[in-house]
């Protein structure tokens, strides 16, 4: 924590009347456009609008779930939050610090406080490092503790995620997918972060192992007071772990509300389709449900539709939807939705 507060000497905190203090992270109109170049001179001919104007707040010790299909920009948001890619425009304010103004050096200090767990437990662990080295790498980079202290932390972290600490000198290939994901969690938490981005952490795991990992993440949140951004494509898992859920489509937010409200009262046609497509392992319930089958697939983010991003697949689209962008607005009680058909004049 202390390093974070040292930073305020370098820059003025922006916390004022503008932002509630309970919000750990405030994101305002975040845009991330990647240039598309062509030819020898790398002339820019267009841009991939991966994230195109997204705003949200995250309260301390809460979990924001971000759900979307592939190409919706959900991982890009995660990368922007940790400044792994510099946003094209927009503000990310973490604990009062505008990350735009934080230097590379400052970002390294902050990275102790902000960590990420990624999807593929096979690609994200160096096969030539043993578990001890993997988990303590961050501690070494930040020069935290002596060798002995680091080893103690590794042992404690492994116990915390339910791994036998005696295995700390083994290599990643000796572990199964679920165990590797636990190693990733231990590595991220070894630096005692407050904020963790979980990017599709359970997507590659079997059902019974997925439940184990989800439960570990929730237990650790409770014990360590963590704040999560939980990114996923499976609405049932995301809703299960999150306090609030944001539905993302083609770089824009379609709906944002508490996870209870999202299932009980979904407003956006895309959210409704997602809910109806999420399988329920009970034939009586599943056969009785209305099923919305969307036509086609998510359009290219290089060339998004002119009006509402969802208009090409929306079963309820009107002429207005094809011409005019829908504003992302509060439709009552903190339930945000971007649809012309909802809460309109």
């Amino acid at each position: 924590m202390s390093d974070i507060h040292n930073l305020s000497a370098e820059q003025e905190p922006v916390i004022g009347d503008k932002y509630e203090l309970s919000d750990m992270l405030v994101v305002k109109d975040l845009k991330m456009h990647f240039p598309v170049t062509k030819g020898l001179l790398k002339r820019q001919v267009g841009s991939v609008k991966a994230v195109d104007g997204v705003s949200f707040n995250i309260k301390r010790r809460h979990t924001l779930g971000i759900v979307g299909e592939s190409g919706s920009g959900k991982s890009t948001i995660g990368n922007c939050l940790l400044m792994r890619c510099r946003p094209t425009s927009g503000d990310i304010i973490y604990e009062g610090h505008d990350l735009k103004n934080v230097t590379k050096h400052g970002m390294r200090a902050m990275s102790k406080d902000m960590q990420m767990i990624t999807q593929d437990p096979f690609a994200s662990l160096d096969p030539r490092m043993d578990i001890q080295a993997i988990i303590s790498e961050g501690l070494e980079i930040h020069k935290m503790g002596s060798k002995k202290e680091q080893e103690d932390i590794v042992i404690r972290m492994m116990e915390m995620v339910g791994l036998n600490p005696d295995f700390r000198h083994r290599f990643p290939h000796e572990f199964s997918g679920g165990q590797r994901q636990r190693i990733s969690i231990a590595r991220a938490l070894a630096l005692q972060p407050n904020f963790v981005v979980c990017d599709e952490v359970v997507s590659a795991l079997d059902v019974s192992i997925q439940a184990q990992v989800v439960n570990i993440l929730m237990k650790l949140q409770e014990e360590l007071g963590l704040t999560y951004v939980f990114i996923g494509h499976d609405l049932s898992v995301v809703r299960y772990i999150s306090d609030d859920v944001a539905v993302l489509y083609l770089g824009k937010m379609m709906e944002l509300t508490s996870s209870e409200e999202l299932y009980e009262n979904p407003l956006h046609p895309y959210t409704k389709a997602l809910i109806s497509a999420a399988p329920i392992p009970n034939p009586t319930v599943d056969r009785a449900r209305e099923r919305i089958i969307l036509k086609g697939e998510i359009p290219s983010p290089i060339n998004p539709p002119k009006g509402c991003n969802f208009c090409t697949r929306c079963p309820q689209a009107t002429e207005r939807c094809f011409n005019e962008e829908a504003e992302f607005k509060d439709v009552g009680g903190g339930h945000f939705c971007a649809c012309h058909l909802i809460g309109g004049e």
Binding site: S208, A211, L235, S236, L274, I280, P281, N282, P283, E297
Partner: protein
């Protein structure tokens, strides 16, 4: 019910590892498939579900894989005794298969059209022009717009969902009796997954094709499956109609598996049940024990030394757990509407 079109009887498939250790991937597996039936085979990675399907088409690489014993009767004919040329007639024509990763099953340097036509011309006497017309019909059938133009596209020009639909079109080219789908929607987005499943179901209704869907996702089959088989450690541990298995699960593994799936329609406060431990390494499970015993909270010494006897609970419902009564409390919690 009519005669089954496919009967798998006591199938055992093993892989011989280095040092001669035998890994029993499929261990005494039996099931029937009837015309137009949708059979779901559910299991986690390493449960032998894919190997069992590959065995039906004799696609197990030898060595190291070997089908040790059993019968696979397709309309009364034992495929394990059939000649290789007879198998070539059957594969892709009478029994087709689609795989999990459409991008790796399609040939990247051949147009979609040529790949579909290749299969048509292999199994029928159609001329090249007629085969092209048929390929166009098939692509239209799986809802790919502008089929005549898209035939000239290469796989990379198709999205994941379209690639999988092209695979379905290819598999359906000779109106097969049985379509085996190995994790057909695992790599796809939820909304596309729903499209593909609906498509498969429509084809089944229209062409009376029986479907064998292999998946680790319990949810996707609840709606479509007629019969459900739960596999663990190379064996079927429970089977029955979808209602039997999902609404009245008997085996502690089935119960645990259903409770491990987060359900959108139930409050979050319900909690996620987990099954402790990891899926077994098949090479280390003794033949005369229950494969689930190491993870089962109701296991006794007998479970570890004796292979559990299966029994029929009703006409359709089979379960291989003698101690299933002990799980009655947990069972009640599964059945929530």
């Amino acid at each position: 019910m009519s005669e089954p079109i496919l009967q798998v009887k006591n199938l055992c498939t093993s892989f011989i590892q280095e040092g001669g250790r035998e890994l029993r991937a499929v261990d005494d597996l039996s099931y029937d498939v009837h015309e137009k039936e949708c059979v779901a085979i559910i299991g986690e990675s390493g449960s032998g579900k894919s190997v069992s399907a590959m065995s039906v088409l004799r696609l197990i690489p030898y060595p190291p894989g070997i089908i040790k014993s059993g019968e696979i009767l397709y309309k009364g004919e034992d495929l394990l005794k059939a000649s290789e040329s007879r198998m070539e007639d059957i594969r892709g024509s009478k029994i087709s298969m689609i795989f999990q990763e459409p991008s790796t099953s399609l040939n990247p340097v051949m147009t979609i059209g040529n790949q579909i036509m290749e299969n048509i011309m292999l199994h029928t006497d159609l001329s090249k022009d007629d085969a092209r017309k048929r390929a166009e019909e098939l692509l239209t059938m799986v809802d790919i717009p502008n089929a005549d133009v898209r035939l000239k596209d290469y796989p990379f020009q198709f999205s994941g969902g379209m690639q999988q639909r092209a695979m379905i079109a290819m598999a359906m080219c000779c109106n097969p009796d049985i379509l085996i789908c190995d994790e057909p929607t695992t790599a796809l987005d939820v909304t596309v997954q729903a499209q593909v499943l609906e498509q498969l179901n429509n084809l089944r209704e229209k062409y009376n094709t029986a479907l064998i869907i292999i998946t680790h996702n319990l949810g996707i089959v609840a709606r479509y499956a007629d019969t459900v088989k739960i596999m663990y450690g190379g064996r079927i541990i429970e089977s029955g109609t979808a209602d039997d298995v999902f609404e009245n699960p008997q085996h502690p593994y089935t119960i645990g598996l259903i409770r491990a799936v987060p359900r959108l329609d139930l409050p979050r406060s319900r909690g996620l049940q987990t099954i402790p431990g990891e899926p077994p390494d098949m090479a280390s499970v003794p033949a005369n024990s229950c494969a689930f015993a190491a993870r089962c909270k109701y296991a006794c010494d007998e479970c570890k030394t004796k292979r559990p006897e299966g029994e029929m609970i009703s006409d359709t419902h089979y379960c291989a757990c003698p101690r299933r009564e002990l799980a009655s409390e947990e069972r009640k919690e599964v059945v929530v509407h």
